[in-house]
């Protein structure tokens, strides 16, 4: 079989280990297992049902945003306004209901519309101007932050929403966004279910739909994608709107789980989302990454966040830990990308 011999010469050979190691989320998965094992062995409460509900709770809202941000990053863009939008949407609902007596469902829809509008504007500005999304969304971030702080104060004279529980029909959306139930001795907050659902849908869309294929393409090589007929502008604007939509979801989850929202909610979280997405295998340059990896990244964040408390350490070590994780992940991802792009 001379022909086969000729063909085999050009075939790329990969060992099974190497092909598993090529999955973008593998690093985050291994790190999550290691961190779980570490805190489970060094602290008493970490591996109990009660302990697990605490760190899952803390991972869930971060996780929803990290997944959305990972899609956006695979599509080659950033969104620094992703944190501020979670506070903004909660404040809109709080102010409209407590101060202006709007029906709570109407207020929730209004805030969803505003969030999608912000996402659309982010996307439109990035696509029409060709400016880096880093700068454009930094602008929207500061605008939203200003509105959150100054707007709230001007309208209700306070920096936090109060009296949400007295709003008519409060318990209806509260069931959807803020309830919890007992399971095997632990408390499962509903945001964990939302987190799992968002991760599952995002992973499915990314890997098994046309839109997912386009997301990879617009992030990996915009010009090539355009040449073969991928709707580049629509895909990218859709990604910005998805991120803002998830910001709205997290805003509702935060509002209805605590029945209040501070005017600085979400500020500073945008970098945590990006860290989780990068730890999960997303490249800063786009075109590569994983939604489920970002969920693992958020899990690592949640576990470290609570594990440090259980271990009785200074909470601020979390920051140093996250930074180290980020650097490690960037180096790993860069290595993976070089291998993937290597011309033979």
């Amino acid at each position: 079989m001379t022909t086969t011999a000729v063909a085999d010469e050009r075939v790329v050979r990969t060992s099974p280990v190497a092909s598993v190691m090529k999955r973008p989320e593998i690093g985050a998965l291994l790190a999550a297992v290691a961190i779980f094992a570490f805190f489970a062995l060094t602290t008493d409460t970490f591996a109990t049902a009660q302990g697990a509900s605490t760190w899952l709770d803390s991972a869930s809202t971060i996780g929803i945003m990290a997944v959305a941000v990972s899609l956006l990053m695979i599509g080659g863009e950033f969104d620094l306004s992703a944190g501020a939008i979670t506070g903004f949407t909660g404040l809109v609902v709080g102010v409209l209901t407590t101060e202006y007596g709007l029906n709570i469902w109407a207020a929730i829809l209004v805030s969803l519309g505003l969030a999608l509008g912000v996402g659309f504007l982010n996307g439109l500005m990035v696509m029409k101007t060709g400016l880096p999304s880093f700068i454009v969304t930094l602008g929207t971030f500061f605008v939203l932050q200003g509105i959150d702080l100054a707007g709230t104060k001007a309208l209700i004279g306070q920096v936090a929403i109060q009296g949400m529980r007295n709003v008519p029909y409060y318990d209806q959306p509260q069931k959807l966004f803020g309830s919890s139930f007992e399971l095997a001795g632990g408390t499962v907050v509903v945001s964990i279910l939302w987190w799992i659902a968002v991760t599952a849908v995002a992973t499915w869309v990314l890997l098994r739909t046309r839109v997912g294929n386009w997301v990879f393409a617009v992030g990996g090589a915009k010009q090539s994608a355009r040449q073969v007929g991928v709707p580049v502008v629509g895909t990218k604007i859709g990604l910005f709107m998805t991120t803002a939509g998830c910001g709205w979801l997290v805003g509702m989850l935060l509002l209805f789980s605590s029945s209040t929202v501070q005017s600085n909610t979400g500020v500073g979280q945008e970098f945590i989302y990006i860290i989780c997405a990068v730890v999960g295998g997303c490249l800063l340059t786009g075109g590569y990454g994983s939604a489920i990896g970002a969920a693992f990244g958020a899990l690592i964040y949640g576990m470290a966040n609570q594990g440090i408390v259980y271990a009785g350490w200074d909470n601020n070590w979390l920051k140093a830990f996250l930074g180290a994780m980020l650097l490690g992940a960037v180096l790993l991802n860069e290595w993976v990308r070089k291998r993937a792009e290597e011309s033979r």
Partner: protein, 329 residues
């Protein structure tokens, strides 16, 4: 060794590689027929490929001018099913203008442009595609980090199921990518690997296979070997021959006569925007092709220049003079 000699030596090596492939082609064609019989052929919709030898594109005295600048004038040639038409010319000879007219990116201002015997004015690349004329540009339009099978169908992904469960037909995509590449003679064990891990020649071939699958009858290849090494160029030449064997008409643009000659059936030479003739292979040798491309007058002046530096009795100079004289006749 002068640069010219290097180029010609490289070209000869490529010619040899290509000839080796040609002998292999017979064996591979037999193997492919077996495969085709075993698998159900998967083809996209579009105009059918006519029988071998039927002209698909015919251009007569075609020309293009931008205001007062004449970019192309009096070009006549044809592209037949199952044949390779090579368009040769140096930089700035008008090759780009010519292929842009064929690809629908530019409109001709003079002459006749017939597709399937009907006169056409293509107003966009989409028009050309609808007629089955596909162009593979040098950047190939692939996304390096994406797997081969995702790249193959990018922008035209097949789906199955009803929304919201509508999803990519992954199995079909992988199977088709594998079989289409196999039909072009690329045997990938893993279509899941990022396309960036393929060599430049293989990526070129994936782009060609994609165009063929999506209904191309005429394939326009814009300098596919320009950025490749000797061996890779040989691989691409092999796939050009494959596409031809599948009955497609191929327009192969190059400035290297040693690449063009082994696979070409018809040669159209461009110089300074004008056609220097349109020849079937039987009327030309590779030496004729080389000297015509360099141009008689240029060769003469080059010979004079080299005479001063290398001495009149130099072998190279003597060769050049002889070629220049042959050209003048």
């Amino acid at each position: 060794m002068s640069d010219d000699e290097k180029v010609s030596a490289t070209g000869k090596r490529i010619g040899r590689v290509a000839r080796e492939y040609a002998t292999q082609q017979a064996k591979e064609a037999a193997r492919r027929k077996e495969q085709e019989a075993a698998e159900t052929p998967i083809t996209a919709d579009g105009p059918a490929i006519p029988p071998r030898g039927t002209p698909i594109i015919e251009v007569t005295d075609i020309g293009k001018s931008y205001g007062r600048v004449i970019a192309l004038k009096d070009v006549t040639t044809s592209v037949k099913a199952g044949e390779v038409t090579c368009v040769l010319g140096d930089n700035g000879a008008g090759k780009s203008t010519f292929i842009k007219i064929l690809a629908g990116a530019h409109q001709h201002t003079e002459g006749k442009f017939l597709v399937d015997g009907e006169e056409r004015h293509l107003s966009s690349p989409r028009d050309a595609l609808a007629l089955g004329i596909a162009t593979v540009y040098q950047d190939l339009a692939v996304v390096p980090l994406m797997p081969v099978w995702r790249n193959f169908f990018l922008g035209s992904e097949p789906v199955k199921g009803i929304w919201p469960a509508r999803r990519l037909d992954v199995e079909f995509m992988k199977k088709t990518t594998r079989s289409e590449l196999l039909a072009m003679g690329i045997d990938l064990r893993d279509v899941d690997q990022p396309i960036g891990t393929l060599s430049g020649g293989e990526r070129q071939c994936v782009a060609i296979a994609r165009a063929v699958y999506f209904g191309a009858r005429v394939l326009i290849l814009d300098e596919p070997t320009a950025a490749l090494g000797v061996k890779q160029s040989g691989v691409v030449l092999k796939y050009i021959a494959k596409a031809r064997d599948r009955g497609l008409g191929v327009v192969f643009i190059t400035h290297n006569p040693h690449h063009a000659y082994p696979v070409g059936d018809r040669f159209m030479l461009l110089r300074r925007g004008r056609s220097m003739g349109d020849f079937p292979k039987s009327e030309l040798t590779v030496q004729d092709l080389t000297s015509m491309m360099a141009g008689g007058a240029e060769l003469e002046s080059l010979a004079h220049e080299l005479e001063r530096t290398m001495g009149a009795d130099s072998e190279v100079v003597a060769d050049l003079k002889a070629e220049a004289e042959a050209e003048a006749r």
